[in-house]
Amino acid sequence: MPIKPAVKTINEPARKTRVCREVDVVVVGGGPGGISSAISAARNGAKTVLIERYGHLGGMATGGLINIFPNLSDASGKQHIFGITQEIIDRMAARGGASYPKKADWGTTDPKIVDYYLNANLGGFYIRPDHNRDMKKAVLYTAVIDPEILKDELNDMVLGAGAELFLHSWGTQPIMDGDTVKGVFFESKSGRQGILGKVVIDSTGDGDIFVGAGAEFDSALDNKRRTAWLAFTTWVTNVDIKQYEDFKASQPDKLKELNAELLKSGGYPHFMKGILENQSGVLWYHSFQPQPESSDAMDVEQLTSIDVRGRKRALITYEFMRKHVPGFEKSFIMQTAPQLGTQGGRRVIGEYILSEKDMVSDEVFEDTVAVLANNDNGDISAKHPALCIPYRCLVPKKVEGLLVACRAFSSTDKINQYFNIIPPCLCYGQAAGTAAALAVKGGIPVRKVDYKALRKNLVKQGVNLPKS
C-alpha cells in the first residue's frame, strides 16, 4: 500500500522544559570541531559542557571510520597544523595507536621511500604529487589512527580538561532570546532538557543549531564535488593480503575483469589496507555514494535510503570478493561505520566568507586563527602551499552568543571541500573554544573578542600562526 506524504502541521502547546545545567560554554557535537572546542574552552577556565549524539567522541574519525588526519604538512614536508591535532597524535603514538611517515621522510620524493608509504596502511593518504618538483610523488605528514583507542583517548582529554560530557544526547535546537543564543535543548533517554550557556558552539557538522537560531547560511553544493556525496565506510577483515597481492601481480587482467564484473553487479571494487601496520588483513572500503541529483545530508529520507543502499552494496561487494578473489576466501565484514559519512552541507554566512580568492592572496588576516596546508589545488598549491583562516569565519553574521566550529564554517562551496576535514575542524574548534572562554572572562560578545589576545593565547597553546 503506498504511503501518502502529508503536508499538514500539528500544534504543539507551550511547555516548561527542565534546565539541567547552567554553564559558560555549551558545545554541541563531539566530532573533531566539538572536541577541540570543549577542550580549549575548559582549559582556558570556562565551565564547559559537551553534548554528543552517540556514545563516543570523535565523529567521522571514529564512528565514521575515517581514521585519517591528512594534510598536516604541505608537499614540501613543512608542517602547518600543530595544536590539539598534534597533541592527539602524540598521545595516540604513545599508546601505539597512530602511524605516520617518519619526520625525516616528510617532503621526500625518493621513489623507494614513496613506494614504501604507498604500500603501507591507508598508504594513498601519505602521498601527494608535488607541483614544484615535476609532479613527483612526495611524502606528506599524514597520520592514521586507531579509532577505538582514539575514543578512549578523547574521553581522557575532554574530562582531563575539566569539561563535562553528555553522551547519547542529541542537541537539537538553540534556546533563543531575540537574536541571542542562550543555550541548547537536547533529547535523550532522560527526555527533553535544556542547558544554558553564555556561549554556544555549533559543532554539529551540519549547522543544526544555527538554523534554529536564525543565522543566514548557504547549503548549495555542486553535485560533482566530494562534499555533495555521502560515504558508507566498511572494514573487511581476515583477508590474506599476500595471497591477494600475488594474484594481482600474476593475473592483472583477470583481476581487472573481476573488478569490472563486480562494478556491473552493483559492488564497489576500491579499497585500501586499513588501520595500523600491525593490523594487516583488514581492508578499508570507503564507498562513495554519488547522488543522481542533489544530495542533502540533512534530509532524513535521503539519509535513510543512502544507508540502505550503501549497506546492500557492501554486502554485494563482500560476497563477490569472497567467492571470486584469491585471499578473500575467509574474509568477513567486520563492521560498517555506525555513522554515515557525511561530507558537506550547510555553511554559515559569517563575518568573513572564505572563498577561492583567499587561496591565491596569501593574505595574513589580523584575526588569523589557523594555518592549513593547501595540497589539493595543483598549480595554486604549488605557489600557495598554505592558507590562513580568519576568526571571522567562525562568527555568524547575525546571531549573538554563537560560534560555528566544524565543517559548516563560513566558506564558499568550492573552498569548503578542501578545508572541511578532520584537522581543519580541530583547528576551528581550538580557536572557537579559546575565543569563547576569553569572551566569557571579559564579559563581552564573541564577536568582540580581541584578536591579538586570542592569537597570543593560541600561540601559547602551540598553534602555528604567522605574524600578522
Binding site: M1, F166, H168, S169, R192, N278, L303, K330
Partner: protein, 477 residues
Amino acid sequence: MAKNTSVKTIKERARETKVIREADVVVIGGGPGGIGAAVSAARNGVDVVLIERYGYLGGMGTGGLVTIIPLLTDYFGKQQIAGITKEWIDRLIARDAVDFPKKEHWGSLDKDIVRYYFQRSFFMTRLDRVSYAAIIDAEISKVILNEMVKEAGIKVYCHAWGTEPIMEGNHCKGVIIESKSGRQAILGKIVIDSTGDGDTFPYAGIGFEDDIPGNYRISALALCFWVDGVDLKKATDFRKNNPKEAMEMGRKAMESGAFGGYFASNLPNQDSIVWFHNRYANKSQVDVEELTRVEFEGREKMIKTYDFFKKNMPGFEKSFIVLSAPQLGTRSSRRLIGEYFLTVKDMADNQPFTDTIAVFPDLDRGQASLDHPNMYIPYRALLPKEVDNMFVACRAFSSDKDVQEYFNLIPHCIAFGEAAGTASALALKAGVGIKNVDIKALQKQLAKQGVPLPDVAKKVSYKYAGPALVSAPFSQH
C-alpha cells in the same frame, strides 16, 4: 567533573510542527521488537512507518554487539520461538552467517554432546541439555533486516529519534521525531512503543515500574567489544595445555581491572575474532548522566582488558580492538504496568492464558524451570491501561522484575512485536480498537505465520520426571 545541577525550567513557546507522514501504524524503535511489529503489521496489509535512531536496524542484536538469539527450544528440544525469529535465522543460514547446535541435538542429555556444545558456546546448553541458541553475524543481519522491511513495504526513517508521543486525552495521534531534518511529526492510527525503555511512558501518562535489585542481570549495562587479529588456536591450546596457568591469568586479569574471559565468535571463518561481554552497575539505564558515565568506565576497562590480554595471553600478540558497540548494552529500565501484569507467580503456573500470543522456554532457573518448562505471554501484557491505541512491544512489556529478568531478550522481543504488529493490522481491518481485537483470530493468524502457540482450552498439569539436575542454573537470586 564540575557538578552544577540546576533545577529550574525554561518556557518553550507553542509551535507548529510539520507532519511528514500519515500511516496506519507507527513503530518507534528498530530493535527486535520494532522489527517484529513493523514486518508483521505490513505483511498483514497496513501502512507502516518504522522510526530508528541509528542508521541500521537490529538494536542490541546488531549495534549492541549482542549477537546471540538464545533460548529457542524448551528442554524437551521442541522449538517454541519461531515466526520472524526463525525467518531471520533462515536468511542468515542462506548467507552462511550463523552458528547453532544441530537440530537432532536439541534437548539432548547425552553427556558428550552436551560437553561439546558447552565448550563451543556458553549459550548452547541449559539444564544439562543442548539448547537451541543462534549466534549471528551482526553486519549480515543489518542487511537482512533491511531486506525484510523493504520487502514488506515499510517506510523506514533511519537516523531519526522518535522522542515523544502526540497525545489527545487517552489517544495517541502519532509521534514527534528529531533528525537532521529537524523536529517533525508522523501521525498514525496505532502507535507501537518498541523503544526498549518505554520512552513514551512518561509523556503519555502510562504507568510503569522501574525498580531493579542490584544483583539482577538486568540491572547491569554492557559495553561489548570485539578484538580481532587473535590466533584463537594458539589461545585455546594454551588454555587446554595449561589449565592452571590460564585460570591464574584470568584471576590476575580481573585483579588488574580487566575482564577475565572472552567468547569465540564461532561463526564460519571468523576465528580471528573474540567477543568480550560485560556488566556495569548503574543507577538507571534511562538517565543520560549514568549512560555517559558507563560509556567512560566501559571504554577504560576495555582498554585495560585489551592491554592485559595482548601482553599476557598467547595468541593475542597481534590482536587489536576492532570495535566497541555503537550502542550501550541496556538490559532493562521502565516496565509497563499493563492490562495484565506478569509476575513471579506466573512463572510457576503451567496453564496457558486464553489470550496467549507467545511461548517462551523457561531454562535459566534450575529446578524451577524443570517444573515450569514454558512461560506463556498474554496479549494483555502488551497493552497499556491508560491509552486506547498503543502497544508496548519490547522489553518494556508488562512484567515485574523477575519475569523481566528472564524473558526480555531478543527472541522474546521479536515475539512481542510479531503479536502487536499482527493485532494492529487485524484491528484496523476489522475497524475495532486494539483492546477489542478478536483473540482467536489473532492466534490463528499468528499460527499461520509460524508462531508456535499452545492449545489454550486444554487443562494442563505437569510434573517433572526426568533425571535430577546437575549443572548450576544460569542465574539465581
